[in-house]
Symmetry: C2
Subunit: 434 residues, 2 copies
């Protein structure tokens, strides 16, 4: 049974704080193992990658077999159900369209002191995309990671995907082709992260690595951070649904379950202003749960991490609770979702109204489904075009502009005891040595 | 002596690669010590912070003495040389003005399928700013970290600064007041990072921690990452100067030395197209070096990490080398710096022309001086307003819009084996259970 809380109870604050503090991840300590693999890949390159692939993926390859050929991709495209291919194409188009609006503009201007100032955005040159193998090989994730990189202007997008026993989901290849992925290698685990970060004879190094993975992949990404950039390390998924009593309890129940089925560590929370509606949703969850193929996962998630919170007034009381949860996904199943959305500060993505189930955002809405989990929406954002670009600032002083600003710079350099800093300005202005 | 390379030599590629791969940091392993301190602060709060402050800063305090009072700040303001105060105020104004241009705009639109889509930017609610004590307590860094946070709209900016033996640089307090810092605590080290991340009875927790620090502070920031956001972990500073023979060798020498004086691990590189000019700069460095107060630091940096690279043609040959270095600071002391700047992809900040010494950007130009080091400009940016904000995406479907997109979402959910995802859409469309 999920936790049931009432915001009007005296014990609410303590119980809500406990809910927020609940650990949903068991950190597996794989750091030493990963460090050894990374070091080996850095020193021995392809040879090490091939050995680990043989050991962990039961796949014996030569260096020239690491890369997935164009022929293999053609074959995959041909085998895929045209309906699914069309759905993927629709998703790719809509993701590209939304992310196109995220492309930032630089600026440049000359200020009153005559200083030229500016800021310029440029894409990262090469990006590696980790795609998990097996059941977690989601073509939608390939699109969500690769399309924004290409929209940003990344020249070289390199995908790695482990193929345990040689098996590869053809939909992943189809999605990669649609997204414009440039190279695909059939490797995974820490060895793939190492190959992307350090490069091998076969695989040129990249500048940034993104994409989800297991504990080994996450640890490897943390360890190569600095040598390359990485995206966030995602925790288990979560949804917070704010719903009034006018909703169909079955709809809301299914929305809660759509997170719960991801992972036993996923979290689904309902905030409502109606006790009877809360009861109805809980009954609907219990009934629907039983018929799901992923019943074990969804049951464990709902039982261990689910929560139903009843408040006095949704518009007045929900936003503050939402901000403290800072949910990855926030669904506002109310009559005026915009009024509620305006009062919320911290959420990865907001789904407005009764006809916007969160799952629409997982696939085809257009915004990214890679979103901040575990309360990190307080300080971070979903994946987007900006994650594949970086800023360079520009300053240009004429002799006159340097004259206008120089003395202040010299003063501050003196105050900080950085003599050469001051002299580099003073010498150009013929200010005497200080 | 710095390394001298000639891009036209057959051995250049190997030597340049060695230069790029050179390690300038000796990673001190302080992780276990830091983990113990963080754990203690998390469990015991103020009591732990006070004990570590007594031990490491030789300062015995009561909880109510942790916070720097308004009276102390007033006193500091009164003691500071008005000239330096004016210079700081000029810097604060210019930093605020430049960063004001970085404030991003959200967007919202309804697409052809009738889906409402949008993206919204909101500030992080509370930010902690670490300021090192002693000689590294730079008021300019306080401005560069705190002003962008306030421009972003951060409500609560909390500064921590250790005061070994009770000593505090009044300029740091003046800068904090100018930048609009809301709270200042006289604590430092891992214990201060822990207090900001977890909160204590006296210090409410923040959502993100920024600012430079020693190895303990850097390790603490890494360890609390996830609980709070952090900025980049900066490495030693570096400059790459591209200069033709028309420059005054003394000016260029001082620019190289202004990085070298920061830290024995700092790196200064000159790229020029003229062997005789290269010789002249090296002679000028040797002469000027001797007269600097930080001669030991600057000499070690120039000797161990300095490099002079001669190329055939600056416009043709320099950009590719610059991109491989991806320097924190790039100074283009040439007649047409814009032409060269346009060909460069990777640099933290670019200084255009002979009258724009890098030091002007450290203090008063306006752009941020917290910049990506150690080749990380390939994938990351200097500190800015965006570091204190986060994006929320919004999606709203009408019944008709859900009808237009829903089947594709159901298809993809089926293909990925996520049944409840598909059902949350299908149930709203009366599509039969699949």
């Amino acid at each position: 049974m999920p936790v049931r809380l009432d915001a009007r109870d005296p014990g609410f604050e303590a119980a809500f704080t406990t809910l927020l503090g609940g650990k949903r991840e068991s950190a597996q300590d794989v750091n030493d193992t990963v460090a050894a693999i990374l070091d080996d890949v850095r020193r021995r390159g392809d040879a090490a990658v091939l050995e680990y692939t043989a050991r962990f993926d039961r796949l014996t390859l030569e260096p020239q077999g690491l890369r997935v050929s164009l022929g293999e991709i053609d074959t995959a495209v041909a085998t895929v159900d045209p309906d699914v291919r069309d759905a993927l194409a629709l998703a790719a188009d809509r993701i590209a369209s939304f992310h196109g609006r995220q492309v930032p503009q630089g600026f440049s201007y000359t200020d009153q002191a005559g200083v030229r100032l500016g800021q310029r955005w440029t894409p990262v040159s090469a990006v590696g995309l980790y795609v998990p193998g097996g059941t977690a090989a989601y073509p939608s994730s390939v699109l969500m990671n690769a399309v924004p990189a290409k929209v940003a202007g990344v020249e070289r997008v390199v995908m790695v995907v482990p193929t345990p026993g040689g098996v590869l989901n053809p939909l992943v290849l189809v999605a990669a082709r649609m997204a414009g992925v440039d190279e695909i290698y059939r490797i995974g685990g820490a060895q793939a992260v190492g190959a992307l970060a350090y490069g091998t004879a076969t695989i040129a190094p990249v500048d940034k690595i993104v994409g989800p993975g297991n504990a080994y992949v996450a640890a490897a990404k943390r360890q190569v951070f600095g040598t390359v950039g990485i995206d966030m390390i995602a925790g288990p998924s979560e949804i917070l649904v704010v719903a009034d009593a006018s909703n169909d309890p079955d709809w809301i129940a299914m929305d809660l379950l759509s997170q719960a089925e991801h992972d036993a560590a996923a979290q689904s929370i309902l905030i409502t202003d109606d006790e009877a509606f809360a009861d109805a949703v809980e009954r609907a969850v219990a009934i629907q749960l039983a018929s799901l193929s992923r019943v074990d996962i969804a049951s464990a998630s709902w039982r261990d991490h689910g929560a139903v919170i009843v408040v006095g007034d949704l518009l007045a009381d929900a936003p503050a609770l939402v901000d403290r949860v800072a949910p990855e996904h926030l669904e506002l199943a109310v009559t005026d979702p915009d009024a509620l959305a305006e009062r919320v500060k911290h959420a990865g993505a907001i789904f407005l109204g009764r006809h916007t189930p969160e799952a629409i955002g997982d696939y085809v809405a257009g915004p990214n489904h890679v979103l901040p989990t575990s309360r990190t929406a307080r300080f971070s954002s979903g994946l987007g075009v900006l994650d594949f670009m970086k800023r360079t600032t520009l300053v240009g002083c004429s002799p006159g502009a340097l004259g206008a600003l120089g003395r202040a710079a010299v003063r501050l350099a003196q105050a900080e005891g950085l003599e050469a800093h001051g002299l580099s300005v003073a010498t150009r202005l013929n200010i005497p040595r200080f």
